[in-house]
């Protein structure tokens, strides 16, 4: 009786879970659907299949500039944020010291603060310091919001890391750097690559901070924002948006696979030999 009741409770929940997944995915799926539709307005019924909106993309110089800028910003921000994330995550997981929690809380704070507040406060400081707004200032802003994500991925990868392996390496005469390069790094490499991918994805998709901190250069989200004013440009934006969706999806899937591998590698020693 209880088993049956539990099954029904679970059944309702399962149905709800599937509905919820539909609710999460449905809006996003309309972008690719209408990006291959011949009609320039996104409405039903669909009029026909075309790739012309995609073919037009490489013919837009402003778009190519924005894509190049996004690539530069994304690579710089993800490398910097991951470097700073490695230092902090290593310190948090390896050492115990007073003020550790407070510092960690401060570093994680951008995650829960409204982006507009982060953006305008950084804008004010940069203008006061006499920095001219450029892709460099966007990178500075993106690093700040990427560090919390990088920390989350990296602390998970570093936790449960077996310190005796490093001690063994040191006892066998390896230098501190040698130990890091030959023992620590291979163990945490998947987490580091995962952090790089996560940060790159965030930077690639981020709009508000880039919008406030950039000068005349545009990144892809800023380019899309500019195009949204023109109804006629919508199909092109949908096509570009679809490409961005696919990029984020692929990057995050790879990051997730690597993150799991990292967790497995550090959390059971058997994993290395299995």
């Amino acid at each position: 009786m209880t088993a049956m009741r539990r099954f029904f409770a679970g059944g309702w929940l399962t149905a709800y879970a599937f509905l919820y997944i539909v609710f999460l995915y449905l809006p996003v799926i309309f972008l690719p659907i209408f990006s291959i539709n011949t009609a320039p307005t996104p409405k039903f019924p669909l009029t026909g299949y075309t790739l012309k909106w995609y073919e037009d993309l490489p013919k837009t110089p402003a778009l190519l500039d924005a894509a190049w800028n996004s690539l530069i910003v994304g690579v710089s921000a993800s490398v910097l944020a991951t470097l700073l994330g490695i230092l902090a995550a290593r310190s948090i997981t390896r050492y115990r010291y007073p003020g550790r929690r407070t510092i960690n809380g401060l570093i994680m704070a951008p995650l829960v603060l409204p982006e507009i507040i982060l953006a305008i406060s950084m804008l004010l400081v940069m203008l006061q310091l006499g920095l001219s707004l450029s892709l460099f200032t966007v990178v500075l802003g993106h690093v700040l919001i990427c560090i919390p994500y990088s920390m989350t991925v990296l602390t998970a990868g570093f936790e449960g890391f077996d310190r005796s392996l490093e001690e063994a390496s040191a006892d066998l005469g390896e230098s501190a750097f040698g130990t890091f390069r030959r023992v620590t790094l291979p163990m945490v490499a998947p987490a580091i690559i995962s952090s790089l991918l996560v940060c790159f994805t965030i930077s690639l998709d981020e709009f508000v901070i880039a919008f406030f901190l950039t000068g005349t250069e545009t990144t892809l989200p800023i380019y899309i924002w500019g195009q949204l004013r023109f109804a006629a440009k919508l199909p092109g934006v949908l096509a570009l948006g679809t490409l961005l969706l696919v990029a984020s999806f692929v990057l995050m899937t790879v990051a997730e696979i690597l993150r799991r591998r990292a967790a497995r590698r550090t959390q059971n020693e058997g994993g290395l030999y299995a």
Partner: protein, 305 residues
């Protein structure tokens, strides 16, 4: 090695050595985190202090007058336009966090209690849309709710309505729907984590002592997962109050929020001190609302026991 040293008779020396070791550990740990810490100080703490300072100054055209004044706060709190925008932003973020938590709880419960071997797959499925560009997700709602949009054309195709409805887009409901969708994953994760920590034997004990499934859920599982509900509510409430993109794209005239006013002060209106005061006020008020939410959820939790 260390175990042997601890058991050695020279106890005092070991302790001194251990203290020295601890101290060097602290120094090492702090040195290692300091670059990241300094980065956060320069790009987070310093900027917030600068905003705070600006909120007490005034601006004449392009020069900032550094005399202390509360004038900006008076404007921020009494001018009807800013007061209305602030209230609306608070109302929207409260509604959005309520709906995201209510909708997210059953999912988190399902994954935690019925997820079985596929727990991480479910979590991955739920977080994936969240990693796609926020701007694009808002844009897709514009496509759905628009006058010539998916919903209107779909309903017309089905013969449910005769002409496109304008009531769907450009109002605060559109903002609430879009934000509820955008922040869904953020609410699920903390609730899931707290449900994972619920001791399953307690639930069994409640059942053995005669509580039905509903009772044992209300009296054991729900109160024990309250911390997750609290952090989910806060993690949605605080960022959404300052959302800029959603009101701008789907809010129309009736969905404008405080972030749009703040942006205007740093853009067209070029009144940084007022923009700063609006930002500080928003943060203070949303913190108060967040604090009140925590107290209310805790009170309910105590009642449930």
């Amino acid at each position: 090695m260390t175990a042997a040293a601890e058991r050695s008779p020279a106890f005092g020396m070991t302790r001194a050595r251990r203290n020295a070791l601890l101290q060097s550990e602290s120094v090492q740990g702090f040195a290692l985190i300091s670059p990241t810490f300094v980065y956060a100080l320069i790009l987070l703490v310093l900027p917030i202090l600068v905003v705070l300072a600006h909120s007490f100054w005034t601006q004449h055209y392009l020069t900032i007058d550094h005399t202390f004044t509360l004038e900006n706060y008076r404007i921020a709190l009494t001018e009807p336009i800013y007061r209305d925008l602030l209230w609306r932003s608070l109302y929207i973020s409260l509604t959005v966090s309520f709906f995201t938590v209510i909708l997210a709880y059953p999912i988190a419960y399902f994954i935690s209690f019925h997820g079985g071997r596929h727990k991480s797959l479910w979590l991955f499925l739920i977080t994936i849309p969240f990693w796609t560009s926020y701007l694009l997700r808002v844009m897709s709602w514009k496509v759905i709710l628009g006058y010539n949009g998916v919903l209107n054309s779909g309903l017309m195709g089905l013969g449910i309505i005769d002409e496109p409805s304008t009531a769907l887009l450009y109002n605060s409901s559109a903002v609430i729907i879009t934000l509820t969708h955008a922040w869904a994953a953020f609410a699920i994760l903390p609730i899931f984590v707290s449900l994972e920590k619920v001791d399953r034997t307690l639930v069994e004990a409640a059942t053995d002592l005669g509580d039905g499934p509903l009772h044992s859920f209300l009296r054991v599982t729900l109160p024990l997962s309250a911390p997750g509900v609290i952090s989910a509510a806060l993690i949605v409430m605080i960022p959404t109050v300052g959302d800029y993109v959603t009101p701008k794209l789907v809010g129309g005239k009736d969905g404008v929020m405080i972030a749009n006013a703040i942006q205007a002060q740093f853009g067209k209106a070029a009144n940084w001190p007022l923009g700063a005061a609006l930002s500080v006020t928003t943060m203070l008020v949303v913190s108060l609302m967040a604090g009140a939410t925590v107290l209310i959820i805790r009170a309910i939790q105590r009642l449930a026991r």
